[in-house]
Symmetry: C3
Subunit: 150 residues, 3 copies
């Protein structure tokens, strides 16, 4: 790939990840589903709480959107990404690492009040029909602070 | 527009917005005014507190700089932007969405102690005489936490 | 330099700084040392606490890595960068300003519990043998919040 094609791929993948964050936090679930490949994998095996499957991985675009929606649709969430490291492997494949911070606040009556976490996304991307999608994403943590109700 | 022209425009607009944040937080008010078009519009109609006009919009580069300076010149402020989605519409027009976080701490004696907020900027940009400027900016919020004095 | 060469340099320097943050927070000290030139300078003369030298500057790749490792190897750290302003001066020289936020939490028994700070990095970069490195970095602060043990 030439330099321009690589730069265009990086810019498109960064905008894709921006859409992932914005759709999640504004609860635009159709837009959120649309950032993933049909067979995408969301690996949250390192996270606390109930796991979506034996291995902590949710598989499939619709399943990921449904899982995340169920988890946070009534939660005030703020997810920020920083400092991408995108490696374009081929015209249709790329990997990326992102620093991340998430702040969740549950409604009154929930068993948890808030979570404030920090970590990294480790991702792969695939291009299909002229567009990039998230093919897999795995979250690792540096720190998680949780507040429980009084 | 070709791919390189679009990439250059995105890079220049991202550096422009970086200057907006840095000048605001270091209280460089001449530098801050310089990021806006002469007829720029700052829409904070969704914000709490006193509004600059009936519709919550400040109009004009000098008016925006004076309004923001008056609001935060003696406040310790930190504004961070993340995850830009820049759409270059033409060689001289673009739109952008940014995730944002702001942390304000007022001096002792002020009626408010601190504000910690999260949301998005929705912006338009215009290029004139070889440089990009912010033509309009509107702030929407995901969450705002306020502390009042004891 | 042509537009594409500048864009490639900016993308490489942004990925370099991302590696700086990731290696520091995941305590990958070999990877951390590798982002600096052999004679790099780390200027923390504006920081609190014990200074590494009379002028607050650590000089040399190995010395910087050893100094930072000694300071934070047993501290849970999160460092985020935002909003780069990269100026490519020549094919092998560049400058950059970054907004930053750092969150440090010491283990129990340390004389300090936590630090949460905000500021800017002011940096220079050099390219050698086809790769960019951080040649100098100086930290200025907007705000620092410290918690001491009870």
């Amino acid at each position: 790939m030439d330099a321009v094609s690589r730069l265009v791929a990086i810019a498109e993948i960064e905008a894709l990840k921006a859409r992932y964050f914005r759709c999640m936090d504004t609860k635009d679930w159709d837009g959120f589903a649309d950032v993933f490949t049909a067979d995408a994998a969301l690996d949250i095996s390192g996270e606390m709480g109930a796991h979506p499957s034996d291995d902590g991985v949710v598989r499939g675009r619709s399943e990921i959107a449904a899982f995340v929606r169920n988890a946070i649709d009534d939660v005030t969430t703020v997810h920020h990404g920083h400092m991408s490291e995108i490696d374009v492997i081929s015209p249709t494949r790329a990997t990326g690492v992102w620093a991340m911070e998430d702040m969740l606040r549950w409604p009154a009556g929930a068993p948890i009040r808030s979570l404030h976490g920090y970590g990294h996304y480790h991702e792969t991307y695939a291009k299909d029909a002229g567009r990039w999608f998230i093919a897999s994403t795995k979250l690792t943590r540096l720190r998680v602070d949780v507040e429980m109700p009084d």
